[in-house]
């Protein structure tokens, strides 16, 4: 990897580790200090590496610098406290802080990150705030990138993150594992955040393929950490990991050299990542325990069928029934549309058109794209009208291009 790519890459993978360890050491109420020290560490790297050359082990170098900065901070803090607070005994001064090493062992790095995930995805703050904080602290996103992801202004995001941290401080959140009786409840927002992060990469408008892949792989990494820990290795976690591996297997095939999206039907199967598909299958197998069927189980099973390219009756009947169940568990417009597409494949276009007309999604361009597809070859004039409506509602160039192609093909 080139040096100019290395620092952003390390930022994605190491930022959260360092922040988590420091924050666990300092306590959540000092999360900003942990963030500042970590950012300064990367700034130091960006300033010194081009001059002195790359260190042998860049990650270890970062840990070392972060550790020293943290020690300096604790020392200053300790001296400050012992000077102004007379009640403080000699033992609580700098020497004790220094004895309490910043523990950057693999074990502590992993535990701290998982505990940080639970702290950030705490029910006392909104889902949006949880995702925002996760992107910032666990994925090292800049405010601008988060603003892009939420289609909001930087000011709004800054305020939202600030308030979220305030709330977590007020709630006296500790960086620790939840008790075993509440683990399922606490896992739910953690998994949702990881899945949203994955989708952020998978469906991102960004033309930068590397960045998009990085996001998907980050989500997979976070989820893998949950699976590797005994406390959080639950069926629904394995199901989500399986789902993401199945989906990610097409990362290479679904975008061409110019960054344009290639539709599923037109993808080159040879570009599908067989290793990811195998891993997806493995974790789907691991998820098949316990009594609860989570939405991730259903989505992983659908994703499995999507790794089977051949257009068999069996495939579409299975996908249809999985969507029927998924929608009963949790409605979403995209699931409703996909279910209707599966219905057309399993039960025929006529029935699917009747069902599609019952859906109340008239401001959704995917809805009209679907109607257009269903009408194609049955009533091409109608199909064209639907596609044109879709075209008028579509916002991104990629979507417009896809729809235009369908019109041209009529």
């Amino acid at each position: 990897m080139e040096q100019h790519e290395l620092i952003p890459h390390l930022f994605r993978t190491e930022y959260r580790k360092i922040v988590s360890v420091l924050c666990k050491r300092f306590g959540f109420d000092q999360v900003e200090i942990a963030e500042d020290i970590t950012s300064e560490t990367f700034l130091t790297a960006a300033q010194t590496w081009p001059m002195r050359g790359l260190p042998q082990n860049p990650a270890a170098w970062l840990y070392n610098v972060a550790k020293n900065k943290a020690k300096n901070y604790l020392q200053r803090e300790g001296i400050f406290k012992s000077k102004i607070t007379t009640e403080i005994t000699a033992q609580t001064d700098a020497s004790v802080f220094l004895e309490n090493e910043i523990d950057l062992s693999l074990q502590n790095i992993n535990d701290s990150q998982l505990q940080m995930m639970f702290a950030i995805c705490h029910p006392s703050i909104s889902a949006k705030a949880q995702i925002g904080l996760s992107l910032r602290i666990l994925c090292g996103f800049g405010i601008e990138e988060i603003a892009d992801a939420f289609l909001a202004g930087k000011e709004t995001i800054n305020k939202r993150l600030f308030r979220a941290k305030e709330k977590l401080r007020e709630a006296k959140i500790k960086i620790e594992f939840p008790g075993s009786f509440e683990i399922d409840d606490r896992l739910a927002p953690v998994l949702r955040t990881i899945y949203l992060l994955f989708n952020e990469g998978y469906y991102s408008e960004s033309q930068n393929k590397t960045v998009r892949e990085e996001l998907c792989l980050e989500a997979i990494r976070l989820c893998t950490m949950l699976v590797e820990n005994k406390r959080t290795n639950k069926p629904q976690v394995n199901a989500l990991l399986s789902l993401m591996y199945f989906q990610a297997s097409r990362l290479e095939a679904r975008v061409n050299k110019n960054g344009e999206l290639i539709l599923y039907e037109e993808q080159d199967i040879n570009l599908w990542n067989v290793e990811f598909i195998t891993k997806g299958g493995y974790f789907l197998h691991c998820s098949a325990t316990g009594e609860k069927m989570s939405k991730y189980h259903l989505e992983a099973a659908i994703a499995y069928w999507n790794t089977q390219k051949s257009d068999t009756k069996e495939k579409w009947e299975n996908i249809l029934q999985l969507y029927n169940k998924l929608l009963q568990l949790e409605y979403s417009p995209i699931a409703a549309l996909n279910r209707t597409y599966a219905l057309s494949k399993a039960n025929g276009k006529q029935e699917a058109i009747r069902e599609a007309e019952k859906l109340d999604l008239a401001n959704n361009h995917f809805y009209f794209t679907l109607l257009g597809e269903l009408c194609t070859d049955i009533d091409n004039l109608k199909a064209k009208q639907h596609f044109e409506k879709a075209l008028s509602l579509a916002k991104t160039p990629a979507d417009k291009q896809t729809i235009q192609k369908k019109i041209d093909n009529l």
């Binding site: 969507y323 929608l327 009963q328 409605y331 409703a336 279910r339 219905l343 069902e355």
Partner: protein
Amino acid sequence: MEEFVLIMRHQDGSKIASPEQMQIWMKQTMDWIGGIAAQNKFVAGTGLLFDDAKVVRHNGVVTNGPFGEIKETIGGYIIVKAESIDEAVEFAKGAPVLQGEGNTIEVRKIAKGDGAH
């Protein structure tokens, strides 16, 4: 938006149909419910097993099901969201169970837990 329960009354399918036929009915029912769920109008629902059913009566008398008129047996229910009883009735009309002559679906508005009922 109100909630309505659609109560399905029909014979025990396994007594009158082959496993293959049962499977077809099952798929049709799943597609019907999936269609309601795709409109974001599904709340809850389940089938009720015919085997080993009991009826508990006054004075602690317990009898085995089935229960009087066979086609009056409740085989399952689903709860839907609808603007009106008419919309709920439209959902019921699509139910595959109504292919069987004599089978019925009873549509009832669910009382809100607001003390008014």
